[in-house]
């Protein structure tokens, strides 16, 4: 482990974050941080606690206020709609679009409730037009009820909905789950356009190779703990395998 970096550059950081579902403790002493514009991958086996960590960052799980800092403010335990106002948005596992509503109405919910960044911050806002440029299919389908879209198209709506909250941090849970390789490539190709404006992204991802390619840094989780952190480009595969499966397991 390197020395603790100064706290200022982090957009979001956690300190000794524990989370539980009732009596079951799901996260233990998580130390996680992400800088503006950074893409951080969160990898680990099923049940390692990746989604739980993402949910506790979004305010969907109760945690103590000093466990999460966003923009140097303690935000642990803030309800999700307040986290949106501070600049955190989420693309949840399984898309979770608003069924019975058109693509456009789904996106307009986010526009209605979006954070209003101070104008002097001079970041280009996400608009429906910019998102149509990012995912052209959304323009043709804007009047379509979301439940009749394909999985990939639904994932694009979910990403667009998250971006229209004008987040500084986008939490993405399993973007590639259940999608065809070509569609996954199209969705991942959109990420650089998102971070270019300074938005940071946390990627929870099952596909380790994909996660490493798409991210600057990675964290690996096992049984509710972070077992490895490093730069995605130069973390050895064996180290990832050890952290992913645990020390007792043979490396495949």
């Amino acid at each position: 482990m390197t020395a603790m970096p100064p706290p200022l550059p982090w957009l979001l950081s956690t300190h000794a974050l524990d989370a539980r579902y009732g009596d079951f403790q799901a996260l233990f002493g998580i130390e996680f941080s992400i800088a503006p514009g950074e893409v951080v991958a969160l990898i680990g086996a099923n049940g390692a606690g990746k989604s739980t960590l993402l949910r506790s960052l979004m305010g969907l799980l109760p945690v103590a206020s000093d466990m999460v800092r966003f923009d140097n403010v303690q935000v642990g335990g803030c309800p999700p709609h307040q986290m949106v106002q501070r600049g955190v948005a989420m693309v949840p596992e399984g898309r979770r679009l608003f069924t019975g509503m058109s693509v456009e109405d789904n996106l307009r919910v986010a526009i209605d409730q979006a954070r209003r960044p101070a104008p002097e911050q001079n970041v280009p806002l996400w608009t429906i037009e910019r998102l149509h440029a990012l995912f052209p299919i959304l323009k043709d389908k804007r009047r379509t009820p979301v439940e009749s879209l394909s999985g990939g198209q639904q994932q694009m709506v979910a990403i667009a909905r998250g971006l229209l909250s004008q987040p500084r941090l986008l939490l993405c849970d399993e973007l590639s789950l259940g999608l065809a390789p070509l569609v996954i490539r199209e969705i991942y190709a959109a990420l650089p356009g998102i971070t270019a404006a300074g938005t940071a992204i946390v990627l929870v991802e099952q596909d380790v190779a994909l996660a490493c390619r798409a991210s600057n840094r990675l964290y690996c989780m096992l049984e509710g703990r972070i077992t490895l952190t490093g730069r995605s480009a130069d973390t050895p595969r064996e180290a990832i395998a050890r952290a992913y499966f645990g020390a007792g397991h043979a490396v495949a």
Partner: protein, 286 residues
């Protein structure tokens, strides 16, 4: 002509039922909250309206103006203090909580107003009618029908085209997904229930002008509202309006056949719709 007359009277009666049904369409049809105190809240508001009119010597329009804000506050409190605590995928907790509230309200009303039937004096409005060819149409039922039409249109447009309407539909579809999109589901629900009960304020005045009210009347009105929403189709505001029309016409034709058959024929049509088209007349296929 008697059947045309029955049809017209049925549509006008349907206007009254539509007024009960709109709040139910919002709470049950859209939010999926079962509020079994819906009818009792209407009766409570009606009795408050009768007392207000008596105490302050004001006409029905002034009573509506006073009652709607009171009703909205009652609805907001109902959601904040009771219903927001029992939210979830299971409709049973809200059913039990509001069933208890229904019984408590009925007993409270018996204590305060006794079991007498009361009505609101309409300054002669209730006796006016206009001739349409051979038909005579009451001015008051016509006003009630037009009010129901306007309220349905307003509610439908609100749900479709306002930020509040979109947030409510989103929160009803998936409260957690709505929350991560910036919606505070509890606040939106409280506003929606305030709107639903607020509309009952209008219905309460109309009901006590058109007929009588007494503390035990709530459950019957609740049934009409439920039936209208289910005949029309869950989630559809115009569906609830249409359902109320079907119910009103069925009752009016039933009354024409035999004075004892009116209410029954409404229920029979409801059962027939449940058997033939359980998703409701205006619901999307599902």
């Amino acid at each position: 002509m008697p059947w045309l007359d029955a049809l017209v009277q049925g549509l006008l009666l349907g206007g009254m039922y539509a007024q009960y049904a709109l709040g139910m369409a919002l709470m049950f049809g859209v939010m999926r909250i079962v509020n079994t105190a819906h009818g009792d809240l209407m009766v409570l508001l009606a009795l408050m309206g009768v007392s207000l009119a008596g105490a302050l010597a004001v006409g029905p329009y002034v009573v509506i103006g006073m009652l709607v804000p009171i009703a909205a506050v009652l609805g907001w409190l109902l959601q904040r203090l009771v219903l927001n605590r029992v939210l979830g995928n299971d409709p049973l907790p809200s059913l039990i909580a509001t069933y208890g509230l229904s019984i408590a309200l009925q007993n409270l009303m018996l204590q305060v107003w006794s079991a007498d039937t009361r009505s609101l004096p309409g300054d002669g409005l209730e006796f006016d009618s206009i001739a349409l060819g051979d038909l005579f149409v009451g001015v008051l039922p016509l006003q009630i029908f037009i009010a129901a039409l306007l309220m349905s249109a307003g509610l439908d447009l609100t749900l479709r085209y306002t930020a509040f309407g979109r947030a409510l539909r989103a929160a009803s579809a998936d409260p957690e997904a709505a929350a991560i999109t910036g919606v505070d589901p509890r606040r939106v629900y409280a506003a929606a229930t305030a709107l639903a009960v607020g509309m009952l304020g209008v219905a309460a005045v109309c009901q006590s002008l058109r007929a009588t009210v007494s503390p035990a009347d709530g459950p019957a009105q609740l049934i009409y509202a439920f039936e209208a929403v289910i005949i029309g189709g869950m989630g559809s505001i115009w569906g609830a309006f249409l359902g109320a029309m079907v119910l009103g016409v069925a009752q009016a034709i039933g009354f024409r056949l035999d004075a004892g058959w009116g209410i029954l024929s409404g229920h029979l049509v409801f059962l027939a719709v449940l058997a033939i088209r359980p998703q409701g007349l205006m619901s999307r296929k599902n």
